[in-house]
């Protein structure tokens, strides 16, 4: 199948194209002028300029949370580019892309994936979306799928009505930073009752050294609509640290369904700090499916705020931490309305000194009766040097809430290895098979191509460490 043709070698993605042709490259650091410059450069409406400046003020006021600061003592906000624009205009035809970018994307396998079954592709290269194609029948259904900058220009009312309503700029320091300097990201609007039956897809990459990537994604599924959005990420290797700080907002109106699938494979020097939150209105369902590989540090806790009765939220996540990596991931479920339900299923793997942390919160607010929630977190530790911690928090204000929690920490057992080796697998194959089996509850929810990609990525990461 085509997925196996996609070149996913760990450091094969670690190339770096020339930076010579960049059209616009502001100075490092962030201040009012930089933010105004970005907004001006994008010809944004005044409300967005104000939104950005307001966010910048909040970013500057907010202290770093103590545990954030502890996790990344060396971050320097003045040593990061906040906006880089690689080409002048967006292109909608693959052939119009500059040769080196096309090469980059070909290595990522995008055209292949597109040909297979994906409904539309928005690829983000640096801070602007440079390639975008929308399938015609989606347009015919009234589905809007574009990059965030274009959406602001083309659908200003829908954007203004929803932008920043799930994650306000003051939510946390990194949401504030993103709100001030955001660029690119995806925008999707699905009209009432419309079911998008194939996944919509975007790839993201960071390519310039010290280029922060602050994409902003907003997905709205109107009443009774459904959509599956898939985002794959890979970043090349840098000589110094790079910051990725995205904001993703999902809005599922009554009876709607959104599934958001991410596989991220950042190079080992990226700080990956993403704020993801969804609002699920009455009888709506939101599922976050999250695969975290690579990066120096990932801190990501996809959240669902269940605001309408009988809404349902799920977070399924897989994290892999190799040498020098820390995956601090988890989930948040806030039950505001009665009879809402949620599931959190987290799997983490640590190897060669890698560290994984599950950090999760289930909150049941006063008045949210009949709530059910189940949390399961499983950690697989592959050697003595690696580590895993679990921090499950519960805040329950309704007596009849049924909240379950299961946690396991296991090591790949000698007996499992011996069993598989006795069938003819060598130790590396046997370990990979055990790990893939461990994450199977998550991979089985992915589109086939992504399931294969995730398994392959984990195997390659494990091999890289062995050699």
């Amino acid at each position: 199948m085509a997925a196996s043709d996609i070149d996913l070698g760990k450091y094969k993605l670690g190339w770096s194209d020339t930076e010579a042709d960049y059209v616009y490259k502001p100075k490092k650091g962030i201040n009012t002028d930089v933010v105004k410059d970005i907004s001006h450069h994008k010809s944004e409406p005044e409300w967005m300029t104000k939104f950005r400046l307001n966010a910048l003020a909040r970013f500057e006021r907010k202290p770093m949370l103590e545990w954030f600061a502890r996790n990344m003592p060396d971050i320097d906000f003045d040593d990061i580019y906040y906006y880089i624009k690689p080409i002048d205009k967006q292109v909608s035809d693959w052939d119009m892309l500059p040769e080196d970018m096309k090469h980059t994307y070909e290595r990522l396998g995008i055209p292949e994936a597109e040909r297979k079954f994906l409904a539309g592709v928005t690829a983000q290269y640096e801070s602007e979306v440079v390639y975008h194609k929308n399938r015609e029948d989606l347009e015919a259904l009234g589905v809007l799928f574009t990059d965030m900058d274009s959406a602001l220009r083309d659908y200003p009312e829908i954007v203004q009505q929803h932008f920043g309503t799930v994650i306000p700029p003051g939510d946390n320091k990194f949401a504030a930073l993103n709100s001030a300097v955001w660029s690119g990201g995806s925008f999707i609007y699905v009209p009432p009752g419309v079911h998008v039956d194939m996944p919509l897809q975007a790839y993201f990459r960071i390519n310039a050294e010290n280029a922060g990537q602050f994409e902003r994604t907003l997905i709205i599924a109107d009443e009774g609509a459904s959509v599956h959005y898939v985002e794959g990420c890979s970043a090349p290797v840098y000589s110094s640290d790079s910051l990725h700080s995205a904001v993703v907002e999902l809005i599922a109106k009554p009876g709607a369904r959104i599934r958001y699938t991410t596989i991220q494979n950042w190079s080992p020097n990226v700080y990956n700090l993403v704020t993801k939150r969804a609002r699920a209105e009455a009888e709506a369902t939101v599922e976050w499916i999250d695969g975290n590989l690579g990066s120096k540090l990932t801190m990501k806790y996809p959240a669902v705020v269940l605001t309408g009765p009988k809404a349902h939220g799920e977070v399924l996540s897989v994290a892999y931490a190799g040498p020098g990596q820390h995956q601090d991931a988890g989930a948040k479920m806030t039950h505001v309305a009665p009879e809402t339900t949620s599931i959190i299923d987290s799997k983490s793997i640590s190897k060669d000194g890698g560290r994984t942390t599950y950090r999760g919160l289930v909150r049941v607010e006063d008045g949210a009766y009949g709530v059910k929630s189940h949390v399961r977190c499983d950690a697989l530790i592959l050697d003595e040097e690696s580590r895993s911690d679990t921090y499950p928090y519960m805040e329950i204000e309704e007596q009849d809430a049924r909240v379950g929690h299961e946690a396991t920490v296991s090591k790949v057992g000698d007996d499992q290895l011996f069993y598989l080796m006795s069938r003819g697998l060598d130790e590396q194959q046997a370990t990979a098979m055990i790990v893939n089996g461990f994450i199977e509850p998550i991979t089985k929810t992915l589109p086939m191509e992504y399931a294969v990609e995730l398994s392959r990525l984990i195997e390659l990461n494990m091999e890289g460490a062995v050699g």
Partner: protein, 265 residues
């Protein structure tokens, strides 16, 4: 024609010697049964032959068609044609038997697709239901389901020599009969050589071995044909030990020293 030759095999755990010079030979098409009381070293024998790392081999040799297996990793022994059906097959959640067998086929340079096709045939033959093919191998299987699944893998992978470690434990009469019939058919159709290890005589009725060996305190103390089984039936292990003038039937050592010993050891 294949031949497994075990000669003067000695092995220890934590400095305690469990196998104290074991000699056995199994040829293609033959069925040999090793019987012994608890603690005689039966499971250790199967693990050492397959190369489990927890044991230290302190002497002797294990050869398959003249090639020394000691020193080869477990998977290479498997690829060379040795199979171990385990007493307690461990669960591998999320990994169905098809994945295991396909990977095992690739390791042998065999077309995995053809191998996968045979799983269906074998499942029908061994009455393994589809849900057990779809589930992680051995994951929440009953003892009988585990043994049917071990036998299925044995039949699909077609090794030259199979070591069956307590294949009869945890099986009801019907399941034992199904498993034994399948193994017997392999000895006849594919010239499989079998080394079956058991505590109980009932396996003998099903497998009809060519040779029976009795293991006590890490040594083969008696070998013979069906008449040896009859003698054991009549006198039990203790009676046989007394007849042979053996004082120590089992090895006395701390339970914790061998995590793979059968329960009750």
């Amino acid at each position: 024609m294949s031949r497994l030759e075990i000669s003067g095999l000695r092995a220890a755990v934590d400095g305690f010697e469990i196998l104290r010079g074991v000699d056995l030979e199994v040829e293609s098409g033959q069925v040999h049964v090793v019987m012994g009381p608890n603690g005689s070293g039966k499971s250790t024998l199967s693990h050492v032959v397959m190369g489990r790392g927890d044991y230290t081999v302190t002497g002797g040799s294990v050869r398959l068609d003249g090639e020394e297996l000691l020193g080869l990793p477990t998977w290479q022994r498997a690829v060379r044609g040795l199979f171990l059906a385990m007493q307690y097959p461990v669960a591998v959640p999320g990994v169905p038997v098809g994945e295991v067998v396909a990977a095992a086929a690739r390791a042998r340079g065999v077309d995995p697709a053809a191998t996968l096709d045979r799983i269906g045939t074998e499942a029908t033959r061994l009455e393994v239901r589809d849900e057990f093919l779809a589930r992680g191998v051995n994951d929440e299987f009953s003892g009988g389901e585990q043994k049917r699944m071990e036998t299925l893998q044995l039949a699909v992978l077609e090794p030259r020599i199979a070591v069956l470690d307590e294949i009869d434990s945890g099986l009801d009469v019907d399941a034992l009969s199904d498993v034994a019939r399948r193994v017997e058919a392999m000895t006849e159709e594919h010239d499989l050589g079998v080394l079956a290890i058991t505590h109980y005589a009932r396996l003998l009725d099903e497998l009809r071995p060519d040779r029976i060996h009795v293991l006590m305190a890490g040594r083969i103390v008696a070998s013979g044909g069906p008449e040896l089984a009859q003698q054991l039936e009549a006198t039990g292990y203790e009676g046989l030990a007394a007849d042979l003038g053996i004082e120590e039937m089992a090895l006395r050592r701390p339970v914790a020293a061998d995590p793979f010993a059968e329960p009750g050891f």
